[in-house]
């Protein structure tokens, strides 16, 4: 079984936000909820870098560890998903997540949170694959159709890679070896507990 991972090559991201838009379009994500976003560091200065961030589908995911209602589960492909039927919108996962991935719709006054929403690796949720109920709660299930997440598929510079961790790392290593530099696959070690040795 493949272990699905995301890798963002910060030397290639051009901050075009196509990944963000592709995600919004594919899953009908409402205004103000960002399953994926592009973060720019040192904006306007020499050494400016952009990275595309979403749920990294961590190994031993911190969100899963802190959830009081146990709504998270890890699929056989290593994708971290959650059940919106169980979620109580407590926000613990948001504080635990090193990537700021969990998002909450505002459902009332005084900042009360709705059920958590996050990147599903285009793999839906606990409902039957491709069902209407699944789409309404979690968006499209591309993985069940044998397709990879749309954000990475859409990436014009192939900065954002998605797929089996071993394959993705191999592509990244070859790239770094060929061009002779690599500022690192940001977030990889935090998410997967191992460095990419090159």
């Amino acid at each position: 079984m493949a272990r699905m991972k995301f890798l963002c090559d910060a030397d290639r991201c051009i901050e075009c936000n196509a990944c963000v838009t592709a995600c919004k379009n594919e899953h009908e994500v409402p205004w103000g909820i960002n399953r994926r976003r592009v973060v720019t560091i040192n904006d306007g200065k020499p050494g400016e870098r952009s990275i595309s961030m979403a749920c990294m589908h961590c190994t031993d995911a911190p969100c899963q560890a802190v959830c009081p209602v146990n709504c998270f589960y890890t699929t056989a492909d290593g994708v971290v998903l959650h059940s919106k039927d169980l979620c109580i919108g407590c926000g613990y996962c948001f504080y635990a997540c090193p990537f700021g991935a969990p998002q909450y719709p505002r459902v009332g006054n005084f900042g009360s949170r709705g059920k958590m929403d996050k990147c599903t690796y285009c793999a839906g949720g606990p409902e039957a694959d491709g069902s209407k109920a699944e789409y309404a709660k979690y968006g499209a299930n591309r993985l069940a159709e044998g397709k990879l997440p749309l954000c990475a598929e859409m990436c014009s510079t192939k900065s954002l890679l998605a797929g089996d961790g071993d394959v993705v790392v191999q592509i990244y290593k070859e790239r770094v070896a060929k061009r002779g530099y690599g500022s690192g696959a940001w977030g990889w070690k935090t998410a997967y507990g191992e460095a990419i040795e090159s």
Binding site: I14, E15, C16, N17, V20, T21, K24, N25, W31, G32, D43, G44, K45
Partner: protein, 298 residues
């Protein structure tokens, strides 16, 4: 023609006793193994290729000529039958001729480009040495750039509007931005019209990053209310605005003026509000992308 053609023989065949046609250079498969002028009926006749024209093509060419004595002057570019082009291509030749490229454009005001200060320049000291070209009629319109430049210097415009303002494109946006701003997924990415300003210029004016500012332009008391993006991406004395916004004018939100259901999700001041008079002194091309401005906290 596979791989492209040569240079158009656009400027005659000879100048100052030197040929303007290509020498020892021609297309593969060309029946003329040298340079040649643009194709006309006269040229076709000299080559004996006019016999390749069909009766229908000749009838159209005679109609274009008007009178029989002018038939020889009908060119590939005026022949509505397309026959001259067809015959030239049939013989492996480019209908527009086979000429040389030129670096001296003798029929333009500056045969070789030289520096000329912009009409609205912060470096007024350079205007005397590098003025724009004299006022003239270009094509069908007047270009009064020289007068505007002189007046701007005399009136001290650069003192009142010391910052260069240029405009440009955001990667998230397309063209004027109306379509992009009408699509919720794209409109969410850049929700505010802004002006980039250097930290030194912002500090002098007490402007904080993300705060609202008034941008004023050098003509027609132009003003626009936008957000400040304080960044080192622009140098001191330079500002920059995206040109994708519209729907605000002079600090007023005009959303209620849109026909029902046609207002984009995101509106903002148009960068063009601030821009000023200016046309390229050689081509007459308008210059709406750079001028002078002043910025102050709103």
């Amino acid at each position: 023609m596979d791989g492209g053609n040569g240079f158009r023989a656009r400027f005659g065949v000879e100048r100052n006793g030197q040929t303007l046609l290509a020498e020892r250079s021609y297309l593969p498969g060309s029946e003329i193994k040298d340079g040649y002028p643009e194709f006309t009926i006269g040229v076709l006749k000299k080559l004996g290729w006019d016999k390749d024209l069909t009766a229908e093509e000749l009838a159209v060419i005679e109609k274009v000529a008007g009178t029989p004595d002018k038939v020889d002057t009908v060119s590939w570019s005026t022949d509505l039958s397309g026959g001259i082009q067809r015959v030239a291509l049939k013989h492996g030749c480019s209908p527009y001729g086979n000429g040389k490229a030129r670096t001296v454009a003798w029929n333009l005001p500056d045969p070789i480009p030289v520096h000329r200060e912009p009409i609205y320049t912060p470096r007024v000291d350079l205007v005397t040495k590098y003025p724009t070209l004299p006022d003239a009629k270009q094509f069908r319109l007047p270009n009064i750039g020289f007068t505007v430049q002189k007046t701007a210097v005399e009136r001290g415009i650069a003192k009142a509007f010391p910052l260069i303002v240029s405009s440009g494109r955001l990667v998230e946006y397309e063209g004027g931005g109306e379509e992009t701003r009408s699509n919720v997924w794209l409109a969410e990415l850049q929700q505010d019209m802004f002006i980039e300003i250097n930290p030194a210029d912002a500090a002098e004016r007490g402007i904080k990053d993300g705060s609202l500012v008034w941008v004023t332009g050098a003509e027609n008391s132009a003003k626009a209310k936008v957000k400040a993006l304080v960044t080192e991406r622009v140098g001191k004395g330079v500002t920059w605005m995206p040109f994708h916004f519209g729907g605000w004018f002079g600090g007023v939100d005009l959303r209620d003026k849109y026909p029902k259901g046609t207002d984009p999700v995101v509106l903002g001041e148009s960068a063009n509000t601030i821009m000023t008079y200016g046309y390229d002194p050689a081509t007459g091309m308008q210059e709406p992308k750079v001028s002078l401005c002043q910025v102050r906290a709103a």
